[in-house]
């Protein structure tokens, strides 16, 4: 049983310009203790995917379509609502939020309550999830701040958010998220608003915390470098769909999908400092009107007739894997296969002899 199992998830948002099909049939699995990265440009549906998991789609207008499935520890989180499917409500969901799944947001500047001290906010989370009060909560909050690497935790507990720097605030956010001892941490671009040196620190911190706690991580980012350093597996999202997925090292060294290749080529690298960066031509299309056929074809250099006519399946690819990761102890056969699975949604891959899934 996987920790988080998303099957054909479709989260659409009604906007004045029509229905934005932001997440449009995503399959994603996160095993217990696994770190998974989700990458894609702005507008590819990353954030809405994260919000769907914690049941915080924008209201009004956000809705999940019938046929979607979202299982946490095998328990289905979606039920029938008046407008399509919806997240289960009330106590059940609140039990999962914070205790099962916790989320860290992009903007540490605005994700903390400006009128409560850092300590008060962490203690709130502790009292809610662990029933801790007074001295016990205070000590646990101090421990948490120590765990997230904030110096002088006793002093910083009394600080208001505006007295802390961006990196410190993100650490406080993380401490709040850890207060409920979650099994899965969803981090939505946790480093985007920080400067590069702090980014590296926060990423290393996330990685370390997950490893020590055995916590799963779903790291959402547009920064392939960030994902490469932290995640074992990566999922490339475009047009609300998974374009490619696989072990991080393989995806980054041998990208199968032209979109992934484009992403890689458009970022600076240390090895080839003379090479010009090649941006992917064009923009992400509006989520209200995805192109027919392959959603990437208008921007793809390799597109041909087939790409315009029909959309390719997400196919399993048998890739030579001389240095594949060894099986984890205690890992089931299904889990191991899932962890090594290599898939891509492209006609090129299909032509080259991938085989269809299901």
């Amino acid at each position: 049983m996987s920790l988080l199992e998303i099957r054909s998830l479709r989260s659409w948002v009604n906007t004045p310009d029509g229905v934005a099909r932001a997440v449009d049939g995503v399959d994603l699995t996160v095993e217990s203790g696994e770190t998974v990265g989700v990458v894609g440009e702005s507008g590819s549906g990353k954030t809405l995917l994260a919000l769907s998991i914690v049941g915080l789609l924008p209201e009004p207008g956000g809705h999940i379509l019938p046929g979607s499935s979202l299982r946490f520890r095998g328990e289905e989180l979606l039920g029938d609502g008046e407008k399509g499917m919806r997240q289960i409500r009330g106590k059940g969901m609140r039990q999962i939020r914070g205790k099962g799944v916790a989320m860290v947001f992009q903007e540490p500047m605005t994700s903390l309550n400006p009128v409560l001290t850092a300590g008060a906010q962490i203690r709130e989370a502790l009292s809610l999830h662990r029933g801790m009060k007074g001295k016990v909560a205070q000590e646990q909050a101090t421990r948490l701040l120590k765990e997230v690497g904030l110096p002088d935790p006793e002093i910083h507990l009394e600080a208001y958010p505006h007295q802390l720097s961006g990196g410190m605030r993100q650490r406080v956010m993380l401490a709040m998220a850890l207060a409920g001892d979650p099994e899965l941490l969803v981090a939505d671009e946790p480093t985007t608003a920080l400067d590069p040196t702090i980014q590296a620190q926060i990423l290393a911190l996330l990685e370390g915390v997950c490893r020590r706690r055995g916590m799963s991580l779903l790291l959402i980012s547009h920064d392939l470098g960030a994902v490469a350093g932290v995640c074992r597996r990566v999922v490339v999202l475009y047009g609300g769909r998974v374009m490619e997925e696989g072990p991080t090292r393989e995806v980054l060294t041998r990208p199968l999908h032209p979109y992934t290749r484009g992403l890689l080529r458009s970022r600076p690298s240390m090895e080839s400092r003379d090479a010009l960066l090649e941006p992917i031509p064009g923009d992400v299309p509006e989520a209200t009107a995805w192109p027919r056929g392959c959603r990437f074809h208008p921007r793809c250099a390799h597109a041909w007739d087939q790409c315009r006519k029909g959309e390719p399946e997400l196919r399993d690819v048998e890739a030579p894997r001389e240095e594949g990761p060894p099986a984890e102890p205690g890992e089931g056969e299904v889990g191991a296969r899932e962890r090594r699975a290599r898939r891509a949604r492209c006609w090129l891959v299909a032509e080259e002899g991938g085989h269809g899934r299901e």
Binding site: K99, M103, M173
Partner: protein, 380 residues
């Protein structure tokens, strides 16, 4: 590294918390600490030394009991609050606020006036030897004391029933201030809760509450209050209740607006993502963020309520005689305005002064709390 002015939650009861003023004194702020200590000490000493006089309330005392209890309650509330504030007093935010507030001299003068009136009301029995309802002309046959001019014995003179005006103003201050505090306390609490819930939940709850607010605001407040008081037996409880029930929509509307914008902020979403319940988010996370406008509305509301109560009493719908009330005193003096100007003038001045003081403080608070005014001069 310097701290943020907190002592943690571990130490709950320390002398610095129990004795007001001790904490700033220890930190070397002599004026603030010494002043606080002196003020509270004097009050306490007076209360103990003259408890017999302080407890001797005028006859027909229900109104006076309520008023005295309210004033003492405010005092206790301030004391408790001063511990809370002591813990965080060095918060940068609060420091900036006080600096801005102090720049506004009129507002500071307003605070001084309010404190003066409050202390005079609280210590009324010590400041005047007369019972506000005592009529020497009729109870002791001293007929020459009717409409007596201001003199050494009666600093503000006496009225047509030979009652001492100063005493009546002091005891009337108890009534006026306590009605202001109670009515505004109730209305602000009610308005804040309803406004916050309506704003956060939205939908039908919001519609219901806000249409109710519209209804109240569409109706002339004075007419509504007079109608209610005219139907029922006027009493101090009825007055407070009616004033509170017609005041809450103003608070509710402001709080709702603030909550509407706060609930779209990321920290609210973060709180929801961490599994906090609605009520916890509303009352623990969002309400502290709307305290600034609520404090302003409450301060201005007290002045407003005092005027309204005086107006009601003037018309005879307010607090009933013989309980002294500034409004009814002005009404009494109206007939003698040419012969005995002091009867109506002094209570009138009291009304004007107190209301002006509350308005000045309210404006000062608004200027000091409003982030848009940051950097500009705060004076009106």
């Amino acid at each position: 590294m310097a701290g943020y002015g907190g002592d943690g939650v571990g130490k709950r009861w320390s002398p610095g918390r129990l004795v007001p003023g001790l904490r700033p004194l220890r930190r070397g702020r002599w004026l603030e600490g010494g002043g606080g200590l002196l003020l509270w000490g004097l009050l306490l000493a007076l209360a103990v030394a003259r408890h017999d006089r302080l407890l001797a309330l005028p006859s027909r005392g229900l109104d006076h009991w309520l008023a005295a209890l309210t004033l003492v309650g405010v005092l206790v509330g301030l004391w408790v609050w001063s511990f809370r504030e002591g813990r965080r007093e060095e918060g940068e935010r609060r420091g900036r606020f006080w600096r801005r507030f102090r720049r506004n001299r009129l507002a500071v003068a307003g605070v001084g006036l309010i404190v003066l009136f409050y202390l005079a009301a609280l210590l009324a029995p010590l400041l005047t030897p007369f019972d506000p309802t005592y009529q020497p002309a009729f109870q002791a046959g001293e007929m020459e004391l009717r409409l007596a001019e201001p003199s050494g014995a009666h600093l503000m003179g006496t009225d047509q029933f030979s009652r001492d005006i100063l005493s009546r103003i002091l005891y009337g201050a108890r009534i006026s201030l306590s009605i202001g505090f109670l009515a505004v306390g109730i209305s602000v609490t009610l308005g804040t809760i309803l406004g916050a819930v309506a704003g956060y939940l939205g939908g039908i709850v919001d519609d219901l509450v806000m249409r109710l607010v519209d209804m109240f605001m569409a109706f002339p407040r004075v007419v509504l209050v007079i109608a209610v008081v005219a139907v029922f037996q006027p009493s101090i409880f009825l007055i407070i209740g009616v004033l509170a029930l017609t005041q809450w929509p103003f608070t509710a509307r402001i709080v709702r607006g603030e909550i509407l914008s706060l609930r779209e902020r990321e920290f609210t979403e973060a709180a929801r993502a961490l599994g906090f319940s609605r009520s916890r988010i509303i009352f623990r996370h969002l309400l502290p963020n709307v305290m600034a406008p609520v404090i302003v509305v409450a301060t201005l509301g007290i002045g407003h309520t005092i005027v309204l109560e005086a107006g009601l009493s003037f018309l005879g719908f307010g607090v009933q005689p013989p309980t002294p009330s500034w409004g009814s005193m002005v009404a009494d003096g109206r007939d003698y305005l040419l012969d005995a100007w002091w009867i109506a003038t002094f209570p009138g001045l009291a009304i004007v002064t107190v209301v002006l003081a509350f308005n000045l403080v309210g404006d000062g608070l608004r200027d000091a709390l409003d982030p848009r005014q940051r950097g500009q001069g705060g004076a009106p």
